[in-house]
Each structure stands twice: as C-alpha cells, then as structure tokens.
Amino acid sequence: MIKDPQARIIGKENWKDYYLLSIESPRIATQAHPGQFVMVRITSHSYPLLRRPFSIHFKDERNIEIFFKITGSGTGILSQKKSGDTLDILGPLGKGFHAGETLRGKDVVAVGGGRGIAPLYFLAHELRSHGAAVKIFYGGKSHEDLPLKAKFEENGFELFCSTDDGSLGFKGLISDYLQTELQTFNPARIFACGPEPMMEKIAEISQSGDIPTEFSLESVMGCGFGACWGCVKRIRKNNHEGWVKICEEGPVFSGEDIIWTEVEK
C-alpha cells in the first residue's frame, strides 16, 4: 500500500460520460494485481471530501490506468483533469481476483456491466497470460455504454456484447445473454463486476451450473485501507456471517460467501 501524492496523468481518453486516465505511478504499478483498486483524491480542499475508489483498469511497469463513468461531482471534477496534472493516489488496495495458474487451459468468463468493465481488462490480460481462454461479456443500456468494445477486440479477446435497447449486440440483460451462452460451454470460473442485481443474477445462474464465481463489490468507502469500518457488506467467513470490510478483505469475494439479500440496501 503506497501513497503517491504526485502521480502524473500522462494520457486521457473520453467517450461521452466515460473516461480513461493513464497515470504514472511506478511504485503502485509494480505491485498491482487485477481486481485491486486505488483511492484518488479529487481536490486538495474539502469538496468533495473523501477520496474516490477506482479499480485498476490496466497497468504496465510504470503506469496504471483507471476507467470511470461520471456519476456525481467527484467523478465530474476528475473528468476535467488533463494530461500533465498530478493526482494524489493510494494503492494498490484490497485483494484482487484469483487469476493464477490453476486456470491454465480452462475456459473462463468475465462479465462487466457498464463501468463494471473497468477491472476486467487487466483481469483478461492476466488470465490470458496464465493460459486461460477468456470470454468477455460486456453489457450496458445502449451502445454508448460499451466504449471499450473496440479495445477488447483489438486485443484479441472474444467478446459478447449486450444492450438493453438492442443498439449493439444481444438485446437484453448481459446476465440473460450469459445464461443462453452457458448452454454451449461450461467455464471453470466466472468473474463479474457491475450493478448488484446483475451480479446477483449471475450468482444464481452459476449456482445452478455449479460454476465457481468471483464478484467485485462496491460500497461507499471512507478510507480504503481498513481504518473506518465504513465499507462493510454481509459476507460468510469461516462458516460465520458478519459485516466484512470490503476494502480489506475484498472488494472481490467468492460468490458463495456473499449474502446477496443483504448486499443490496
């Protein structure tokens, strides 16, 4: 866990409400794993007050990327930053996905809904580097919510897109698309990140097929490093249910440990 108060933005891309920032932060980059996140300070003054959490979208030796959607004032202000500006970031935080050697040669699925696609690009690369065959399921309300489609394709990932309005790919929910496709193959693991109803649906589907799952959860985070007890979700741990800090023990949890009825407020 590193605090880098002078991480420099070295690149920026934008598609409507979605933004991608490349940030130079070698010490964070070298330690980062897929599914981990960073806490970004938005301003040096008191509005907005708290740092904002963002998944690590991708990394190389020196840089990390974050991919985010404007959902409020913090992300709004962040979207105004430009190349050359510096950011104060903490990371890498949390525990990531399990994307190691055990998946070599296996089929795996990563499902991202809207901005939930963010951690899956890094994850997909990691999985491929370990010899897994990755299918990406990428869903959104309309084609404008799938700005990363081209990038996944250019990088040779097998992509399954859906939109609620049918403007791109399968018309309907990405979880329904996944369910249909699961009739034809049986992945060794499903990874997912997105709105909670989407993830819960995927948990159901995978349970019936007995497929291990990993979900990246969200919560309002006060600190991101275990000090505030603010980010808890109901999780089973050592056969016992409790409020678990998702910044420390997550944000990625095994599907069977998540108590979905209590995850959604």
């Binding site: 866990m1 605090k3 300070r41 008191s46 509005y47 907005p48 007050l49 708290l50 740092r51 104060d88 903490l90 919560s219 309002v220 985070m221 006060g222 600190c223 490093f225 275990g226 000090a227 505030c228 007890w229 603010g230 980010c231 808890v232 979700k233 409790g242 409020w243 209590e262 407020k265």
Partner: protein
C-alpha cells in the same frame, strides 16, 4: 529547535497531535504510511467489553465538506484487544489512549477494570458521546447528571487518567464540562460528532442503515471550535480540541483558543499522513512567529 512537547499534567506528549478514535483504526492500519511514534498519541477505536458487529450499512454518507458516519462502534472487545492488539501497540513509543464505551455505566467501568490489568495504556478516553448507537442519538454526555455519574464511577475504578469526551449536541456545553470536571475527569476532549441525517430523494428513505449518524469533518469546525472557546474559559482541567482539523492552521485555531492538544479525525481518511503534516506545520508556525515552545501558543487568543 522548537519544543513541541505538551504537558497535560497527567501525561507528557511529544507534540499536541493525537489521532482521534474511530478514525485511526487500532493504529496499526496507519503503520504502512509513517512511523506511529511520531505522533503525540493516538486513540484506538471505541471498545465495549464484548465484541460487537456495528450497524447495518450504508454506514457513511458524504455531505458538503463533511461526513456522516453511523459505524455503530463495531469492535473486537476487550479480551481480543488485550491479547492480540495491545501487545503490538506496546512497541510504539507514543501515548496510547483507549476509547472506552459502554451500554450502561457498569460496562464503562468493567472495560476500565479489565484494561487496568494490562500494561501499555497511557489513558482512557471515555466515549460518553457517540450519537449513532442509541436511537435519536441519546448518550450520557447530553445530561450533566448522567455525565457526573458515569465519570465518577469510572474514576473510582480506574488507576489511569480519564479523559472525558463530550458531545456537541447540547444546549450548554459548559455545564456538561463542569460536571465532568467535578466528577474527577483528568481532561476533557471535545467534540464527538453532531447528530445528523441524510435523505435519498430517489428512494425517499434515510441514506444510512441506522437513519441517524454523526457529522464530522471541516464542516463542523466552526461549531466545535466555538465549544472549545466556551469550555476553556470555565474549566481548570486540560481540554483536547477536535472537529474538522485537516491542516496546521486548523489545529492552531484550537491551540490559540486554548486547547492543550488536538485530535485529528476524518482527515486521517483523506490523507493518512495528515497528522504528520500537521505536526510539521505547527513547527513551522512556531518558527515563523518566534515561539520557542508550542506551549507558548496555547490560549494566546486576544479577547
């Protein structure tokens, strides 16, 4: 070299900067960021006798320059604290203060009784002012008799100094402060959070799982500083000020007003190194303004 030490009477601090309870974990969470022994001290998360789960989420909501929390004092309880955490804290060369909670007076006393047998604690901070455990924010610090009663009981039990942490949710903070002093409190810390709510206009429901929470952060500083201003004029025991401190200047407002030390709360989340920076800024201020000792800054406010 500026002398930053502070003598609270019952304890000497390296400097007047203490990390506040509930915002600094059990201390160890901040070890990756800096050497904890640089602090004047830190107060660990509130401890009840038994482990507690805390409130259902959402537990936090951000407001303009503020944060409402309804964490609800989850914690490991005194036994695990003594067995697993305290041994690690003992190695840190700074004042370790335990924030003591209780559902009733007896529980406060039993926490103190239990911990009194353990080494390595500098003082207790009696949290009689947490607004988000009881319905409607009820707590002993809202009433001078309840305050007197619990402070006296704990003082009888404790072999260590007792700092009493007051609530800002009162008409007359001086009245409560005086009764804590009369009951034997060795120092006062003020303030805890302000009782608050937030409403989700889409769902038309309270945002927090607990409905009520406590407001902290820069938004509250004008109020908490006012309370410190009122209290320091009327009590003899040292006052530790807090509420919205995130810079050296914020801390100086309290010290100049008459607080002998300050606690840093919400700022720890935003910048885990906040306390360390504040210590540096206090040093700079003393040098620039010709103060050899930070003690000489305390209470210098002109009337």
């Amino acid at each position: 070299m500026t002398d930053l030490t502070i003598d609270l009477g019952f304890i000497k601090l390296k400097n007047p900067v203490i990390a506040a309870s509930g915002t600094f974990g059990y201390g160890l969470e901040f070890a990756p960021f800096f050497d904890l022994s640089k602090l004047g001290g830190f107060v660990v998360k509130g401890l009840y006798f038994s482990p507690r789960p805390g409130n259902p989420p959402p537990r936090l909501v951000e407001t303009p320059s503020g944060l409402i929390n309804a964490i609800g004092l989850p914690g490991v309880g005194v036994r695990r604290f003594a067995d697993e955490i305290l041994p690690q804290l003992r190695k840190i060369k700074t004042a370790i203060i335990v924030n003591v909670c209780g559902e009733n007076e007896e529980e406060y006393a039993s926490v103190v009784e239990f911990l009194d047998k353990e080494e390595g604690i500098s003082a207790y901070e009696l949290n009689i002012s947490c607004p988000n455990v009881e319905k409607d924010g009820l707590c002993p610090a809202l009433d001078s008799e309840a305050t007197f009663s619990v402070v006296s009981l704990v003082k009888k039990t404790s072999s260590r100094p007792v700092i009493t942490k007051l609530s800002p949710n009162v008409t007359d903070i001086v009245e409560i402060a005086l009764s804590a002093q009369e009951a034997g409190a060795d120092a006062l810390s003020l303030v805890n959070t302000l009782l608050a709510i937030a409403v989700d206009v889409e769902e038309r429901k309270p945002v927090l799982g607990n409905i009520f929470g406590g407001l902290s952060g820069p938004a509250i500083k004008p109020i908490s500083l006012r309370m410190v201003y009122q209290v320091v004029r009327r009590v003899k025991i040292p006052v530790i000020g807090m509420g919205g401190i995130s810079s050296g200047r914020d801390a100086l407002e309290y010290l100049i007003t008459g607080a002998k030390a300050v606690e840093i709360g919400t700022a720890n989340f935003i910048d885990p190194e906040a306390s360390i920076k504040i210590i540096e800024e206090l040093k700079d201020y003393c040098e620039e303004n010709g103060f050899e000792r930070i003690e000489d800054v305390i209470g210098t406010i002109k009337r």
